[in-house]
Symmetry: C2
Subunit: 419 residues, 2 copies
Amino acid sequence: MLREEAVSPTTTSGTDRKLLALVRRSLGPIPIALALSDTCDVPETDEPVVATVRFADRATLLSLVNDAELAFGDAYAAGRIEVEGDFIAALEQVYRAAPQTPRLYSRLRAQWFDFIQNNTHRGSRSNIHLHYDLSNDFYRLWLDERMLYTCAYFPKPEASLEAAQEAKLEMVCRKLRLQPGETVVEVGCGWGALAIYMAQHYGVEVKAFNISREQIKYARERAKREGVSGRVEFIEDDYRNLSQKFDVFCSVGMLEHVGFNHYRELGRVIKRAIGETGRGFLHYIGRNRPRPLNAWIRKRIFPGGYPPSIRESMDVLEPENFSVLDIENLRMHYAKTLEHWLARFESSFDTVVRMRGMEFARAWRLYLSGSVAAFRVGSLQLFQVLFAGSRSPFVVWTREHLYAPLQEELDTEVWKPAM
Amino acid sequence: MLREEAVSPTTTSGTDRKLLALVRRSLGPIPIALALSDTCDVPETDEPVVATVRFADRATLLSLVNDAELAFGDAYAAGRIEVEGDFIAALEQVYRAAPQTPRLYSRLRAQWFDFIQNNTHRGSRSNIHLHYDLSNDFYRLWLDERMLYTCAYFPKPEASLEAAQEAKLEMVCRKLRLQPGETVVEVGCGWGALAIYMAQHYGVEVKAFNISREQIKYARERAKREGVSGRVEFIEDDYRNLSQKFDVFCSVGMLEHVGFNHYRELGRVIKRAIGETGRGFLHYIGRNRPRPLNAWIRKRIFPGGYPPSIRESMDVLEPENFSVLDIENLRMHYAKTLEHWLARFESSFDTVVRMRGMEFARAWRLYLSGSVAAFRVGSLQLFQVLFAGSRSPFVVWTREHLYAPLQEELDTEVWKPAM
């Protein structure tokens, strides 16, 4: 007994040290310390340590050895992992150190997710419901006044989120060069801000599709309040059910939810909508190259989600002979947008906890922080793609008109022809 | 005998009519008349006829039935086909009516060309020699003063070719945001104008690769004349042999000559040159979707040539984890550039005939006219792709700086930092 009492603490600490070393091995020598009770693993690196990841117990630590991608998120949400120091910097370090080629297991799991979260009509409805129907009150806590839940456009990095979201709306309209009287179909319209802006500022008629009931309800009320119900129709339906003809197709932040195996179907839907003479716009989170979405994000935050590489996203456009006119990468704008969201989210953290519980609040803190990190280090990208049908009379001679002073447009609330 | 004499003209004309109808069937009801001796096939269409294609004899006409793509070009060059009316408008009509999916025969032939014109080190040398070493005096007849043989950038459609080529050089430098003292590698540098401009206006050091002996000779002389030999080195070698490190990779008008089966190799070369921290630029003729290059162009004008779709061109960048920052489509700028070249070519037509013979002159008239038509109708596109390594500190916040008044830059011949 005496012997055991004397040895036990050392053994415990020795085992902890070995367990921490196991996690360290998979992480590499990145400047993050790992801690389990009194034992701390400090990396052999010249860089200053940005954070200490503290594990509540051995089981938590072991779960990471087994499947770090999924286990870290769940353990963090459950409060079994705490990160002391700069959380985002730590996540950036982890993402930078991630293996270039995903492991076989990750790829197989991605295929399994593709199967169980397949974005069929029914699957999409369920996937979208789980994220976007959480409650408008929740999103109102940390989005801008217009409830835009997609990458903003910051003419200058120091612009406010409100100004940057307005600039984004304007930029989309300018890229599409909307003309008064034209018809626009928007798919995946969120809370309706873009559709309403287009009708208000560019005098177009918009039909906007969405399968999130909460968002559609909100959008309809907003359109009524803004007095554009006559020109903007919000339709609670799957994008695949659109059947009319339009001058312009527009989708901001939906392609991520379509799923790679449905890209050709989306391409056919777009072709049906705008034929060979219309033009279109796709704004989506993407990648430098194909890679499965983080398993925890896919399981807990965005079921059915997949950010494609440019090569993959061309599966929407090339089979239908659409002509790509312009692609812009706004990655750093999304990092900044997310910084704003995260700051607002943190100021409302207690409210979120009251609304949805601590586990949810922590999960969303991780999701928002991880997204800031992912866009900063470039494991995620943000692409805006402007395209036109093969017989479209729409030619963008230069892109100079996109950069005319913004204020001119933003001060006028009347219908006016685009340039 | 009497009977034959009486019937013969009718029979002849009847046969001719049938032969013309055969060609018509493959062309469809496009507004082009077809003529063989006294017989003329006028299409059943409401559009006004834009041109009459006159065949010298039945054999010529029959060759078209068999293999229009290749036979038309050869027969036109040989003077066995004449086009009366608007030649470019006629070619536009033919391209618009072309089947959306290339026939099996075209695809098989493309594979055969891929094989016999494969862009190995040796194959490339032969392919490039056949086009670019024709003679500098010939190209001088119809290119701009700088000898730029790639798409210009017309700030306004009415800009002169000289101004538009200068604007293109400036635009490339701005997209890359060159900084004084940086090192640039250019592959496929033509007659050296871009490399010289970069050194002169942006104070960078350039190594420029090319396997066309004539072009390199000219470029070296020009660099000496301009007093930048110390900062621009022209290297007569294959791009695959570059081994040094650079800040910037740049290629304008070479990807079309690389061949799809060598894209991954090119990607590795770029990665070797700029690592994960550099940035790069690719400017190339492309397509809305994959399609073999016109067989006549491939056989007579651009051996080894292939204009890729965006999806295909991503095979250069995605495997190396490069991040696409900006893609611009300048299709209509190439149509305009080619209109200028064609006009100058036509004014020097007799000189070209004296230099290289009638068949050559007619072949090049067809190639230039066909290219105007192809860019106008969109069977060819022109893409400019800006990209950066996955750890590049280079971030383009917005593209507004590209559109600062051009004159400022163009008036200064001194080194100055880019914005």
